[in-house]
Symmetry: C2
Subunit: 126 residues, 2 copies
């Protein structure tokens, strides 16, 4: 897939655009709440209130904000049931599920090195 390039060729610009997009996505997702929401959703379908109970410490506002962002990026699906009282459910899409798997890896890592980190902190805090 390596093609010969001229100076200032369009494909170079494409690569730069893809890179900046990747960076943008990275910035979106590399935040505490987004990752915790994805973990909380897991394989289940949850309502707004259920999610707020599940993700400990998140505010109403942050939850809304992050849910919008995740929906925009196609990681979660939002279905509104036109009933009263309103019922809105969230579930992970296939890309979202794929991401959750890698986040699981992060959680595993955290638990495996928990002790390691704690002792390292104590040594550092002198």
């Amino acid at each position: 897939m390596v093609t010969k390039q001229l100076a200032g060729s369009p494909d170079e610009a494409d690569v730069r655009r893809a890179d900046s997009l990747a960076r943008e996505i990275f910035s979106d997702l590399a935040n505490k709440w987004a990752l915790l929401i994805i973990e909380a959703l897991g394989e289940s379908t949850l309502r707004f209130g259920e999610l707020r109970d599940e993700v400990e410490g998140i505010s109403h506002k942050m939850l809304t904000q992050n849910l919008r962002m995740l929906e925009r990026n196609g990681l979660i699906e939002r279905t509104v049931h036109p009933v009263v009282p309103p019922r809105v459910e969230y579930t992970l899409t296939e890309p979202g599920q794929a991401l959750r798997v890698t986040i699981d890896g992060l959680c595993d890592w955290t638990h495996r090195y928990l002790g390691h980190i704690e002792t390292s902190r104590h040594r550092f805090d002198d």
Copy 2:
């Protein structure tokens, strides 16, 4: 290692402490710059200036701040060579390397679903 527990036993407190510690570590690491620094280090040893060139867009201050945090958590090792001009080198420790592998997974995910995400965004932005 599973021991019998009484109600309100000390181990329950331990579990809560470990959970809050895990949450804290999660908050530390779930940020753009920390992940990009770890990726930049990879298997190599880099100086402060080299790292700043490698991690595009990071400021002097943010780099310092995150390097301290990563060092405190035992993810990177900092070696000072007492010469003039000063020479300070950073390298990933074993836990850091392990974390890098899971971050690689995140990068793979980003590139795999790049198109997916871009179209989802366009659909959302109406």
